[in-house]
Symmetry: C2
Subunit: 168 residues, 2 copies
């Protein structure tokens, strides 16, 4: 396969995966583009490479910065802003985990906590089933939360290969 075709395929696949996981397709594509680019790119170059508008490019780049996945760079003597992606897959994983934990897991934990204060008749099957399900999900969510916490604290990756030990 040729490099040019491979790049397109990678960008497309990354965009599709993103959209399946609730991440804007264009955002995933811009990230993919920067991931395989050795140099930082300008907004113009990104617009051109992905055939997207200036407004879309600007908002998407801002979101990616908000996710901690890319950063702005400035070149001496130039007004233009350049964008560069961290290429370290471990950093990327941690960053995504960190953001989703904050944006999604924590709000859910809060709700589950409130729901565990529900009052009712201990003999009522409706009540018992509700409490049991909420409590079980709460336990799972707390475990996931603690695991992510540990993952975020890890400065380097023991990730490669060691994850397998979990279920031994």
């Amino acid at each position: 396969m040729e490099l040019a075709a491979a790049k397109l395929k990678f960008i497309e696949a990354w965009g599709k995966l993103g959209s399946e996981w609730g991440i804007n397709r264009t955002m995933a594509q811009v990230h993919a583009l920067l991931l395989i680019s050795p140099e930082a790119l300008t907004t113009e170059e990104i617009m051109e490479a992905l055939s997207i508008s200036r407004g879309n490019a600007n908002m998407t780049l801002r979101d990616l910065i908000g996710w901690g996945l890319i950063e702005k760079q400035h070149k001496a003597g130039e007004r233009k802003e350049y964008f560069f992606a961290d290429k370290d897959v471990w950093n990327i994983s941690r960053q995504v985990a960190k953001e989703r934990k904050k944006r999604e897991l924590e709000p859910v934990l809060k709700v589950l906590n409130e729901l565990s204060t529900v009052v009712g008749d201990e003999k009522d099957p409706e009540f018992k089933t509700f409490k049991k399900s909420v409590s079980d999900i709460n336990k799972l969510a707390l475990n996931v939360d603690k695991t992510l916490e540990t993952m975020l604290k890890a400065e380097e990756s023991w990730f490669w290969g060691s994850v397998l030990k979990v279920f031994k």
Copy 2:
């Protein structure tokens, strides 16, 4: 909090979480409803509880069966079909992991594999960066795949509490 209010809140929260992770909001809500229901419910009851149409209920229930999260039940002497959700959180987790692995991870692994056959100039930074990123992501994806594989094989859950050991 009252049980009725708590149920609504749980269904709403579950639906929101689902939609943030690329799962149809209604599907997540129907699953939530069945998760907290001690008895199997009919299509009519589900339509009524969530104010959704017959068509929507039917398709959503079919999808949930496709994800292996609920099953049909028949009661003696009745024509109606009843739907019941597995309440075991470990089973649910495994089932979701299994489906997403099959539907999303495996296709991505296939693409990454194809992309690793790219040919080009080893001195070209564009080529080098592409290969490095694809290769790193491939390694991560393979690890995730193997981890899920192990998780799926585990008959019971060592999950509770033990996940934390990964990053020790």
